[in-house]
């Protein structure tokens, strides 16, 4: 790998005939499918310096002009957590009484759900307008627009990590426990990232053509919050309703983060596999959709 990158790069060739980009495709159907599956990772690796440069800029921009800067990123989740603790501690009990070790558990329980939900909603709100934000690059340079959803999802991840850190510290301080299952966090985060990147590819491509995508998400996201077990669990429902609930991928993600952080139990394998399947499917469908629309985007944006 290193020897490859050291070697002088072959001069890039652009070849288009009647609007069709000619790419040398090797191998049969299977090899082409493998190449497609590997493409997002390879492209991200190729543009890693660009991703880092824009990500660095986006992160420093968020709190620019504020004196406290990054303190806000920590204070916001702290205040949220304090509010839920005051509002819910002792008032409502967990459905699973055995696991409810302390009165703070319900607050942490909601907090876990909110971290997952706000991760989703940030991308849902920003996705449709993402390409408009970077229109000047897309119109005037050979800008790899398909990297933008990756960059913006990574930026959102930074805030999610802060929220998770606050949650873990709160768990240690308030509940006095930390479950070993917290080590499974990467198994939650990576599929979630894949899902959100895929979703943002889809929303960004759609949003490039019509602003309706933006309004649609602004209307849907708050409704979805109540159709998603952020403030409650699905345990109380009948099995049929529960199965329907799992069609919403956020249900799985929220259940997993609660299992591994607050309850300290292993998430159910079926839920993990189903969520993983939905994530990977969304990732590749989104990528496929974005690539299909890619050439028309510079015309319309």
């Amino acid at each position: 790998m290193t020897s490859l990158s050291e070697a002088p790069e072959e001069a890039p060739v652009l070849h288009v005939i009647d609007g069709e980009l000619l790419v040398t495709e090797r191998g049969g159907r299977g090899a082409r499918l493998l190449a497609f599956l590997a493409e997002p990772g390879r492209a991200a690796w190729r543009h890693r310096d660009l991703i880092a440069a824009i990500l660095r800029r986006e992160l420093s921009e968020r709190f620019k002009g504020s004196v406290a800067g990054w303190v806000w990123a920590v204070v916001a989740p702290l205040i949220a957590l304090a509010t839920y603790t005051l509002a819910f501690a002792g008032v409502v009990s967990l459905p699973n009484q055995a696991a409810a070790a302390s009165q703070f558990d319900y607050a942490l329980f909601i907090f876990g759900g909110l971290i997952a939900y706000s991760f989703f909603s940030e991308m849902a709100f920003r996705g449709p307008s993402l390409l408009h934000e970077y229109a000047h690059f897309i119109k005037q340079t050979m800008f790899p627009a398909e990297m933008l959803p990756i960059i913006s999802t990574l930026r959102a991840t930074a805030y999610v990590l802060i929220g998770l850190a606050v949650m873990i510290v709160a768990q240690i301080v308030l509940a006095g426990t930390l479950h070993w299952t917290i080590l499974l966090l990467p198994l939650w985060l990576l599929p979630f990232l894949a899902f959100l990147i895929g979703m943002t590819w889809f929303l960004a491509a759609l949003g490039a053509f019509t602003r309706d995508a933006s309004y649609l998400m602004m209307t849907l996201a708050p409704i979805l919050m109540f159709a998603t077990p952020v403030f409650w669990t699905i345990d109380g429902f009948s099995p049929t309703v529960r199965l329907l609930m799992y069609l919403n991928i956020l249900t799985g993600f929220i259940e997993i983060i609660r299992d591994i952080s607050v309850l300290g139990s292993l998430p159910r394998l079926a839920v993990v596999l189903w969520t993983l399947f939905l994530s990977v499917a969304t990732f590749y469908l989104g990528f496929w959709f974005f690539r299909r629309q890619r050439d028309r985007i510079a015309d319309v944006i």
Partner: protein, 256 residues
């Protein structure tokens, strides 16, 4: 002219934009496009064929809206042609209005880092060339200031300096020099002359003197087609004469 050592080949190249009356026409096209066409095609570039050899310096002349920029954007790979064949080999550096991609809130340094990455430079490469870029731009301590405090001239200085350090095979200069002062224009022209020894140049300018100095060939694009292709001296003269005779008719912007 043989195409043995060509870096750019275009054959019957055309680019159409889809124009819609309103948004609902667009959504009808998406849903019912298979049965009926809801847009009018505007052919910004109609039928263009030419080849550029390695090391050539070619000037593109023509009136506003004749299709020059569309052609350059296709060569850069920003726009996809609608018909015809286009073949481009090598790293392309578009000086076309690069300054307008600058993020106004970010400092010159941040913009150089991002701009370099967008143009395909690796981070160590940008860091290594950074001092040289700032030196070429000649904007001194302003590099640490947000771009919004720059004058237009300073912006184009920085963007040209960045492109000059790209080590591109094909340099595309689109009226970028017009805003610099005399001293900086001379610096850029000198640099471009040096670049021509190993690279290919596509140059858009309304300045007759610049075209004569830098280019050995000129292509006059008129209404999406090549009207003349030859020595700069002849093409520029024919173009200038036509400008005097033909009125500035705005009808040419309307779709056929």
């Amino acid at each position: 002219m043989s195409s043995e050592d060509a870096v750019i080949r275009a054959r019957n190249l055309g680019k159409a934009y889809q124009l819609y009356e309103n948004r609902s026409q667009w959504s009808k096209q998406v849903l019912l496009g298979a049965f009926h066409t809801y847009y009018r095609s505007f052919w910004a570039l109609k039928d263009v064929s030419f080849a550029v050899q390695r090391g050539e310096s070619v000037a593109l002349v023509g009136r506003n809206g004749c299709g020059k920029s569309t052609l350059l954007q296709m060569i850069c790979g920003i726009l996809r042609p609608t018909k015809g064949e286009l073949w481009v080999k090598g790293r392309v550096a578009p000086v076309l209005a690069l300054g307008s991609t600058f993020d106004l809130e970010a400092t010159g340094r941040e913009n150089v880092m991002i701009g370099g990455a967008v143009l395909g430079m690796k981070r160590p490469e940008v860091l290594q060339k950074f001092d040289s870029i700032v030196d070429f731009a000649g904007i001194g301590e302003f590099i640490e200031q947000p771009i919004k405090h720059y004058s237009t001239g300073m912006r184009s200085r920085l963007s040209f300096a960045l492109c000059a350090h790209l080590e591109a095979d094909i340099l595309i200069v689109d009226e970028a020099l017009a805003v610099g002062d005399q001293a900086f224009q001379r610096k850029c022209l000198d640099w471009i002359e040096g670049f021509r020894e190993h690279g290919t140049l596509l140059f858009v300018s309304h300045s007759k003197a610049e075209v004569m100095r830098l280019c050995r060939r000129a292509i006059w694009i008129d209404d999406g087609r090549i009207r003349e292709d030859g020595r700069p001296v002849d093409v520029v003269r024919a173009y200038a004469r036509a400008m005097e005779v033909e009125p500035d008719d705005m009808k040419r912007f309307s779709a056929a």
